[in-house]
């Protein structure tokens, strides 16, 4: 059964042109991919579009998969690059602000208690520079520092540094909150 085959074997088969393997593989990781896309963009609609971009381009990208990396590492790298590319395409910086800024739809849907948490989250994420956000999107998604480093193409030390930077930002935010 294909269901029992490892990601990496499926990915190699897909890279060779096996449509069933590709299909099983994508189904297996779609939810995770979508979750990461959401964390990278902070907006449901953006996340859906980004996931769609990736799904559309993935067949062409599959050929580039080598067994050097875990499939998810590879896929998350594709996702981070696609997110970055999308942001880049999204013209100006003003648009960036609406990523983690435009929270309207999410906020309306959520109940009161979640709404507060979400407000805080939005504020927290907005306060972070893009690179820290991307790093957090991965690390908060149970990706290890070493793997995040691999995905982002940076050293593990830089990941740790970014996380500590992010914590510093959060601390500042908390300090400001406490003043109010």
């Amino acid at each position: 059964m294909l269901m029992d085959v490892s990601d990496e074997s499926l990915a190699l088969a897909a890279a060779e042109g096996d449509a069933d393997a590709f299909s099983v593989l994508l189904e297996r990781h779609y939810d995770g991919l979508y979750r990461l896309c959401f964390r990278l963009t902070g907006q449901k609609a953006e996340a859906e579009d980004l996931t769609q971009d990736i799904c559309a381009a993935l067949p062409a990208k599959m050929g580039g998969y080598r067994a050097e990396a875990r499939f998810t590492t590879w896929l998350w790298r594709v996702a981070v690059n696609a997110a970055h590319d999308r942001r880049r395409r999204a013209t100006t910086r003003a648009r960036h602000a609406t990523g983690w800024g435009d929270w309207e739809s999410g906020r309306r849907a959520a109940d009161q208690e979640t709404a507060q948490a979400v407000d805080w989250l939005t504020e927290a994420m907005r306060a972070l520079p893009e690179e820290l956000r991307d790093t957090l999107a991965l690390v908060l998604d149970e990706v290890t520092h070493a793997e995040a480093a691999d995905i982002l193409g940076i050293s593990p030390g830089t990941v740790s540094w970014r996380i500590s930077e992010a914590k510093k930002h959060l601390r500042d935010l908390r300090a400001r909150e406490d003043q109010i």
Partner: protein
């Protein structure tokens, strides 16, 4: 303090929605279809690229990014420039392209195209398609047979689907989204292409005025993006800064002439057979090193916590270490820090006392978040204390984007720096590290301080800025250099300045000596390139006027393409000098000029310029390779490597 992070994680988990089942099914189906298509095409001829698919989704992405909900809410009274109506009842017969006619549609006048009117619309459409040859943006619309033009905010209208590129001519896709209450906003700012300096029609606007620019930061930023495996964001690609990053060896001025010499030549455009490029190359004189005035340098160093990264403070220390051997015993160095540790950490010290200076540098460390008090004022005060008659005094601000220098109002900061510039102390800015970099502020500060903004991402970049081009960066030879070109409408139908978007001046600013402009340092070379369309060229984008153009004065019958005027001030002078020269066909096209052209093309490709057709990275790399020239420092080889990277990174 991992609590905060845990909170964030919990909030993130709560906020992350489950995927929409419908979307998921769609996306999976799409992926499977593309997978199948790809296999098919592999079996077929040669695997062509997956361009059309990419175009499709990128197009959709672009469109969404162009929409603004805010715009939608306020659009009911707005004017919206919309494409023409497209009605394609039978999609199976293949896509129909049409050229959006740039008409301003007033919302109140919008009429839905009804069933009976559709026939007329189709005729009109066909006519419009014939007229324009697909030079402009085209739209391909898929339609159930009920699509129409401009929806108004309160009018529910059917959804229009977007297809793909029709052919290679199509440069940008647009989509008319007709959800109720969701109207595309006519906002030039959200189109990156619109930021590119636009085409001018010579008969309407024959004069082009701008300030020269010797900043190079954009190139380093682009390089650092590409090295990380990302295509640079549009905003970071400034074509003129990329061109001027490279040293060129243009003809230098003779002794006793002006401090710089312009050379103008005209050549064919690699990316458009119907247009020509006018290169304006300016070469500054290179005073002998021993003749140079003494230097007083005050390093104003950001020691905020964020500077604590390998590519920031440590790189800065190494960079300054590289620079010291270039200085002589007549030169003095002082160090002031701000943010984190604040204050003067090194008294003015002769540059030859390297051990003392390096020891002071080594003691710097990033940390704390004590608000830096008045770091900038202190640096200038130290600088003024060091200045003596005939010396060059400069503050060099090194930061990763924290401009918390003691003056908080950006306008006040610029004024302060401009005032100090007028009293003889200049400012340069060096940016370090990515993530927090504020390039526009860097540029604005350096511009007001008669200095250069550079971005230092590697030790070799530090070597370039602080050692190889040391003299140019620190010794100005001409201030407020402005360029004005008047094109001859009898020869040139249209023209476009490549880059310099942020440096444009008003026509009347040219002769106004009060208006600040860019400065040329010793040995600097500056290049500006116009793309011009000769009268009668098939590449002309605008149609000639039916009722004749105003006959210009008799000189317009001359075969000069245009006339170049330059104004500059000798350092310390209030009154500008004028250099004039006609622009004529021909002129030697050197390797340097061809390389500058290649870099211009590189910038345009990175920006997805609407003015480049059927010319891509393959041609670009060929051109750059053929113009590599001497390249003693290896900058050009590096640029070609970046072009290859960018070629592979295109998504």
């Amino acid at each position: 303090m991992s609590d905060d992070l845990d909170d964030l994680k919990a909030a993130m988990n709560a906020a992350t929605p489950a995927p929409d089942a419908g979307k998921k099914a769609e996306h999976l189906a799409l992926a499977r279809k593309n997978f199948a298509d790809l296999q098919e095409s592999r079996d077929g001829v040669r695997q062509t690229s997956d361009r059309p698919e990419k175009g499709l989704f990128r197009g959709v992405a672009k469109m969404f990014s162009m929409m603004s909900r805010r715009g939608a809410l306020t659009a009911s009274t707005a004017l919206v420039a919309l494409g023409l109506v497209a009605v394609v009842p039978n999609w199976q017969k293949g896509p129909v392209t049409f050229i959006p006619v740039e008409t301003q549609v007033e919302f109140d006048d919008v009429v839905i195209v009804e069933e009976r009117a559709r026939e007329d619309a189709r005729k009109e459409l066909a006519a419009a398609t014939e007229l324009a040859q697909g030079q402009e943006e085209a739209l391909v619309l898929e339609a159930e047979p009920q699509v129409f033009a401009a929806p108004s905010a309160d009018m529910a209208a059917p959804e229009t689907g977007l297809l793909g590129y029709a052919d290679g001519e199509v440069q940008a896709l647009s989509r008319i989204v007709t959800e109720p209450g969701f109207v595309p906003e006519s906002n030039t700012e959200s189109f990156p292409e619109a930021e590119e300096s636009s085409l001018k029609i010579t008969s309407e606007e024959p004069v082009s005025t701008f300030s020269i620019d010797v900043d190079t930061a954009s190139y380093s930023v682009v390089r650092s993006s590409l090295m990380r495996g990302w295509l640079p964001e549009y905003g970071t690609v400034r074509v003129e800064e990329m061109i001027n990053y490279f040293p060129y060896d243009y003809p230098a001025p003779q002794l006793g002439e002006a401090p710089f010499r312009p050379t103008v030549s005209v050549s064919d455009t690699p990316w458009n057979p119907g247009t020509k490029l006018v290169h304006i190359a300016i070469q500054g004189e290179k005073p002998a090193v021993e003749d140079r005035p003494s230097l007083n340098l005050v390093f104003l160093i950001d020691t905020s916590g964020s500077m604590d990264a390998p590519d920031k403070l440590p790189l800065l220390k190494q960079s300054l270490g590289l620079m010291l051997p270039e200085l002589s015993e007549r030169d003095q160095v002082s160090i002031v820090t701000y943010a984190g540790s604040a204050g003067q950490v090194l008294e003015p010290t002769p540059a030859t006392e390297r051990a003392t200076i390096m020891a002071a540098l080594d003691k710097l460390d990033a940390g704390g978040s004590t608000a830096g008090q008045a770091g900038l004022q202190q640096a200038y005060a130290v600088a003024e204390g060091m200045a003596e008659e005939g010396e060059v005094t400069r503050v060099i601000l090194a930061t990763d984007g924290d401009f918390n220098v003691g003056i908080y109002d950006p306008a006040e900061l610029e004024t302060f720096i401009a005032d100090k510039r007028d009293s003889g102390t200049y400012l340069s800015v060096m940016g370090f590290g990515r993530g927090n970099l504020d390039e526009s502020t860097m540029q604005a500060l350096a511009q007001n301080g008669n200095g250069q903004a550079s971005f230092i991402d590697t030790l070799s970049e530090a070597q370039k800025v602080l050692v190889d081009q040391f003299t140019g960066a620190l010794f100005p030879i001409a201030n407020d250099v402005k360029i004005q070109v008047e094109f001859n409408p009898s020869q040139i139908a249209e023209y476009r300045l490549i880059g310099y978007e942020t440096r444009m001046l008003e026509r009347e600013d040219f002769n106004n000596d009060k208006v600040d402009a860019g400065d040329i340092g010793a040995g600097h070379s500056v290049t500006a390139i116009y793309e011009v369309t000769p009268v009668g060229s098939p590449a002309r984008l605008s149609d000639p006027l039916r009722y004749g153009e105003v006959e210009a004065a008799s000189t317009s019958q001359s075969d000069e393409l245009g006339f170049l005027k330059l104004r500059y001030k000798e350092p310390g002078q209030e009154v500008s000098q004028l250099i004039e020269t006609p622009i004529v066909e021909g002129g030697e096209v050197s390797e340097d000029m061809r390389f500058a052209t290649a870099i211009a093309g590189f910038g345009l490709l990175l920006n997805d310029s609407v003015y480049i057709h059927e010319w891509g990275f393959v041609e670009l790399i060929d051109l750059a390779n053929s113009a590599r020239g001497d390249d003693p420092f290896g900058y050009r080889v590096e640029a070609i490597r970046l072009m290859r990277l960018a070629q592979n990174l295109q998504w």
